[in-house]
Symmetry: C2
Subunit: 233 residues, 2 copies
Amino acid sequence: MKRYPDAIRILVAIDCIIMGFDGTAIKLLLIKRNFEPEKGNWSLMGGFLHQNEDLEAGAERILFDLTGLNNIFVEHITTAGKIDRDPVERTISVVFFALININNQDQEALNAHNAQWLSLEEKPELIFDHDEMVTKAIEYLRYKAALHPLGFELLPEKFTIPQLQKLYEAIYDMKLDRRNFSRKILSTGLLVDTGEKYEQSATKKATLYQLNQDRYKDKFFAFWHFMPHPGID
Amino acid sequence: MKRYPDAIRILVAIDCIIMGFDGTAIKLLLIKRNFEPEKGNWSLMGGFLHQNEDLEAGAERILFDLTGLNNIFVEHITTAGKIDRDPVERTISVVFFALININNQDQEALNAHNAQWLSLEEKPELIFDHDEMVTKAIEYLRYKAALHPLGFELLPEKFTIPQLQKLYEAIYDMKLDRRNFSRKILSTGLLVDTGEKYEQSATKKATLYQLNQDRYKDKFFAFWHFMPHPGID
DNA sequence: TTTAATTGTGTCAATATTACACGATTTTTA
DNA sequence: TAAAAATCGTGTAATATTGACACAATTAAA
């Protein structure tokens, strides 16, 4: 007794682009599939939506499955629905974007899924339309990180300004001026000096900061320009 | 012979938030449903995804159905998937955002669908989760219009700077300084003086401009600040 | 103890932004 | 017929932000 008898019903997948930062490069958490179809090929982590599950919840389930992490930064970024995107059966994929601290996740879970962190340069070709999704995610990261203090999700709780700068340089694949970057970041009032120094430094030890959480939440959606914008033309 | 036998298959709807500008206020094109369920109640224009149809194509079909227009500015903004969002049967809705020139559409098609332009203040309560979708669309418009020359989609081909300013004032519900707005817009090089004047003006006739199409396409995705940002803090 | 690498802070000139004033044009009104 | 009212176009000065750049301080290694 279906109420919408003429409409089609199709599979709903959830795919997650999971990004991390290793201090030098932005990395993607990808899996080498140990199941059909496309067994042995690289793919985003994903799965099908469950019966009694919201989309967000599905994304969180999939992320927890792979990383053992909860409370991850996750946002829905796009939905892929090309007719033949899955060769087996028509499937729509709801795509989520996740940022995590690369050091936190559960290595055993990663192994069980054949997962590996690969930098954007190392990225192999992915199955289906997953490459397009990654492209969108990178665009999204660049777009959003220029305006919102997003990058902190990729760093440890305590971090130095030079680390943060290297992160932005990795995101935008460009060099930034140390002095101007520092001034801009500090002027946001988002950072709190912990009084500690980064001990692993080879030379002068940089100050460790942490986020002013209240201010971070308050100001996340305010417009900001974290990136220089020379000669807009 | 299904390859993914355990996964669920559900309905995929497409819903469109259609915005226009009447010279004073941002308006939504809404329909009073003449079909069940929720017959007689206000709703976004939508429909179900067809068998051999991509998502974008579905959105364009639905928009054409209602307005008689092609080549509309359309973007996918979000996907709604709460378990009970449709009381009849589980349905995921892929939401699109469309901007059109309010004077262009086909009045007969509007009548056939019971459609009406309503300002945001007049907006009645909508069915299902359509109110949430509208909220997201307004946020999206404000976000995007601050950075990209988006507003032109809502104006006639030839328009005056004061008209454009009123549009921005409607989007952000705030007053802007005439002089500064004019300077900023003109400095983008996006406008071309047509040499004509807006004849319907009650007093001094304003210059009619049109978009520099090449520059518009080139620069659409560049970052710009179209809105003032006094004392970011 | 010198060297090399890196961090923290400061300055200055160029640019962009904001706030604000005035003259010009056109219709309405006295 | 002229003054008034409304709106449009442009200009300017004070302020804030940005980009480019210099120098001193810290630390491990040479």
